[in-house]
Symmetry: D2
Subunit: 369 residues, 4 copies
């Protein structure tokens, strides 16, 4: 990961600001011959799209994606649009950029926001809607993720869910992946989802916001993906998730809970399996050992802090270093963690696609052994 | 981070296995003119060196470092050895490689270890002492970190401490950085350190092991370091820490606790400061906003799982997929988190040195504004 | 350089095919605070634009550039549009994509073209106008180069010229940089330019094409740019120029002629200079020694082969491996080297901008010496 | 290529100075399961080793290589030493570092040498024997190349030869690859080799030096290697060869001669081949079209300037900017191009190994088409 690009063989470069002309990405290194239509990408974008319930920002963006390059359909391929192996550029125009008075956030630093940090770094800042630091950038990740999913073998299933809002965790005994699509929180526990509705309404009406924890799981990942020591699968996942806006912590498998475990509790025992590969009796490791996938479900969780854009006045300073009490008006997510769910899936897909190609590059079919 | 290299401008490539000829690293991109002696690096290595108390592995390795290249001393520099801007190769010979019978770990997979994952990936595995997946590799990081510290402005202070062993966290009201050097646990709380002594003795005598949490803090970091969106300072830190052996979770500032916070609690309020920069009234963010340092202390914590090499028999399989009950003999750390403390400081130093140079490259003195 | 990205700190990623929706690039790592308007970029693009004389392809493309991101203008900057340090995406729509019958180049491989190589690699090929392998891609480089020029100190002057067409070299005693803008060949020698007019008309009327040699010179480059051993300034230039379509050779300074020189002829002698830096008495080295700039003019030349798209029938095969005699109709450049002149300047600018930032990153002001 | 590392999947990082403790490299990304012994690498190093005839430097260096990591032999592999997929560190100690008076080159800049450029860049310079800019660094490349050869399919044959010394080119009608090993010039033409003997003796006795041209050819390269647009096979080759000490020009296939060709001359015609692939009737392209290999022999040539270290006094300046007339004593190659021959093969092997793995990564077996 470097500046605005991530991935080594499956490389994604994103661009764009919240209120600029357009945002998008260039996906480089995609294998040729993969069928992909704009509609496939659009379907993923629609899951992340704002304004779908009262629990996300009321900004109305169609988030319509255009494929500018890297695909081709002709008679020889039966008219099916396929990737060609050249860079795939995706573009999403910004349409709902309200022309409003930005002078407040232009001249002051919103506490908890990147405003001050950007000014300290660059000496200039596109303050309209947060500019480059806006969560709007994650639309480009979701678009790239839609391609990454198709690079991976079809039996890899990547799903994410919101597992905690504020202090309220889901009841894992009620976990139902199908439930995730049925409520506005991507919550796998119907009962807790119902509770969240009332809970988040309260937060929203207070003009406040709340944090969340997201869990993303990849099943069907073959053993052997990952590139130790500094391209470890879990290290790349950690960076990928931490790079999502407002994320403050990432864990794999038992994560922080493993600090309290004894060796015999933590060791995932094995028994001989049918297909020659061992069967694991537990998955404290979350599907990765020594930075390499084990074939068990790959499990990653991350914490999202509450949106800093709230209606409660906070003490801050102006860009001229004068004291000010600031209220952030505008359209904001009361729980920005919610829309991080499809983003998490996209980042998982991109990291796996990259490691899938890297593994094939280094190890191939091992025909020279 | 890619395979065995990390960093973009300050780049570290490590090599070596636990029981091979030697291990070491090449530090590329180091600025010229920095005074460095082998003794400076040795001092850091000695903090990580095994066999210093009964609480770490009894392997006896002097971990003597040799500088092979990249430095030069002559009359013109008053005989002071300086970096020249060319790659600095550091080498540590392995000396205490016991010639023992490795057949057990050769033919079986230790549960919780990388054994199976390495075989699944590469079809071959240097099983002696864990090979490349051994925590011995972290010696190279510590050596690189000693150079990284000198690349950074002298007023940046990087320190780490063990803040939790098993379920037992330190009492932060008793935090004393000076205490860290006085006990074998790098623990900042003298009282808890005393407790750990007895506690870990119990673990050790049981032939078991235990997890830990490490906290690493960098003070004096100037605002503006970090390269959004995919070279965020916190994303690079997350990858760096997650790449350390046995780490299962990383958090910045309030980390996972921020999921339970409301927006007004989480927003680090500001008041006008003396030097033109704002004064922050809290540091929930852990010194980084939008992936860029704010000038506040940079705070990172990570969880280390318990060593899987334990004397309690665990169910496993052989490389031929037959059931076996395995006991891992040999010299092992009952709490591998302890020796992760100097490693954490080294990784923090390397990440900061890289971003310090990257920032200088992109933004420089901003003389063209 | 890797896949569709080049540069280390000043990074350019290009995308797009000859007859796709659009082409463009993302320029990442650009310093903040640099004034840039679309018109500045357009001016460079217009120099490369096809259809400006009868000596280039008759395809009519306005090559209108749009800046999608990475710049911002507001009251605080007096309304001047400045770079913000975030990625600058540039887009050029394709407008003159003739809907024609492509079946000939779809089913056959043009000799000397990338057709066969693309099919051999990817198993699929966007054959419309050459797809990704079309020289149309160089428009994106020229756009990026326009930004690179502004990253460099203002006293660096980058100029290129066509110095040979077919076997006919210019007369260097008549070299006049101002002449380059006055003829359709970017030729610095008015008399030879006149000759080229008639000469190329003959080639064109024959339905043939011809090769060329381009020279690009950067003056005012400060000494010290370059990153040995594998980021040598001349190695990066060699890759940059060789990556331009149809280029088959690159040389620096005396280039291939230096093979015939004796040591005493080749050594660029020095005398003490006024400003503390030496004065060079010759420039066989072409401004670079040991991969690092010396402060002398940086001189690079490259050979461009003749366009393979010609009206003379050539023996070839179909994609089904059947013999065919092929004539390439369509709009083509009789001397594709001509339009490589602004591309050469752009690539020189990008390489220098990258090394300028890299040098500043690693060495900075050397305040720690 | 970046600083001291080159390659994307097959990555080589070199370190070391001419008179430092040791030099060497780390080869990262090597596939597992490849049989390699130190003796295999030594055989290649011995071809480059100095002091083997009166036509190369008289420095006596055994150039003994040690493998520090990344390989493993045990019962399971029948005792054969195999690569493990982890980084392979190779080390060559410097032994013949004459303790001599270096004050002359310490205080003055040798014309044509990197002395001034290094000082201008870094403000410090290891002047002993040229430090990092010494051709001694190429030993590390040759060592890496020995591994790269084994990564490639066995039917790829890489050979290089000296084809011109001073103005004297070989007679290609007498080309005999077997002859290359029989004379001290790696010359494929026995008669010209005889001539070179007398010719170079004259140069040497004059205390002068002379340039050369080297040609490197890879046969059996499968079509499809290369990664357009900025990872073109020829662009990577150009950078690789240009990064070799004293190289001033690189060309592919007909190279600079193609500037004088007409389209119909340059187009490599094709006829249907037996194995489904076309047969090419010519190879002006040198085996690469659009940056991708065509299956024809890959042909690359480069020019090496004469060594600047000569006994004829040359005008120069001291580091204090005072005029001086300089004679470079010491042990030097009268034609440094000679020893570039095995280096050229090594760089070709490394570039091909990298692209072989990259192609396998991106395109694999195309099983998803």
């Amino acid at each position: 990961m470097s500046h605005n690009t991530f991935g080594h063989l499956f490389r994604v470069t994103t661009f764009g600001e919240s209120h600029g002309v357009a945002l998008g990405c260039v996906v480089d290194g995609c294998p040729p011959g993969i069928a992909i239509e704009a509609a496939d990408i659009q379907a993923e974008l629609d899951r992340r799209k704002p304004g779908q319930s009262r629990f996300t920002t009321q900004r109305r963006e169609p988030d319509q994606v255009r494929i500018l390059s890297g695909v081709f359909a002709d008679d020889r391929t039966g008219g099916v649009q396929l990737t060609t192996g050249t860079p795939i550029a995706l573009e999403i125009e910004n349409t709902d950029q309200r022309s409003k008075d930005y002078s407040e956030i232009r001249d002051s630093y919103r506490p908890g926001h990147a405003d001050y940090a950007y000014d300290a770094k660059y000496g200039i800042r596109d303050y309209r809607g947060g500019g480059r630091s806006s969560a709007r950038e994650t639309a480009a990740r979701v678009a790239a993720g839609a391609i990454a999913r198709r690079v991976l073998p079809a039996d890899i299933v990547i799903r994410a869910a919101l597992v905690q809002m504020g202090p309220h965790a889901v009841d894992r005994s009620r976990w139902d992946w199908d439930e995730v699509a049925r409520n506005p929180f991507f919550c796998p526990d119907a009962e807790t989802a119902k509770f969240y509705e009332e809970y988040l309404d309260g937060i929203r009406k207070d003009g406040s916001s709340i944090g969340a924890v997201i869990e993303v799981v990849a099943e069907g990942v073959p053993p052997g993906l990952g590139a130790p020591i500094y391209g470890k699968l879990d290290a790349d996942l950690a960076a990928a998730m931490m790079s999502i806006n407002a994320v403050k912590g990432v864990e794999i498998g038992d994560g922080f809970a493993s600090a309290a475990l004894r060796g015999e509790e933590n060791a995932d025992e094995m028994r001989s399996g049918n297909a020659g590969a061992p069967t694991f009796l537990a998955n404290h490791a979350g599907g990765v050992l020594g930075g390499i996938s084990t074939g068990q479900p790959l499990i990653c969780r991350f914490a999202v802090k509450p949106t800093s854009s709230i209606l409660t006045p906070r003490m801050s300073v102006t860009t001229n270093n004068r004291d000010v009490d600031l209220v952030t008006k505008g359209r904001h997510d009361p729980c920005v963690g919610i829309r991080a769910v499809p983003v998490a899936e996209a980042m998982m897909a991109c990291v796996l696609a990259d490691h899938y190609l890297r593994h094939r590059g280094q190890v191939g079919t091992r025909d020279r052994e």
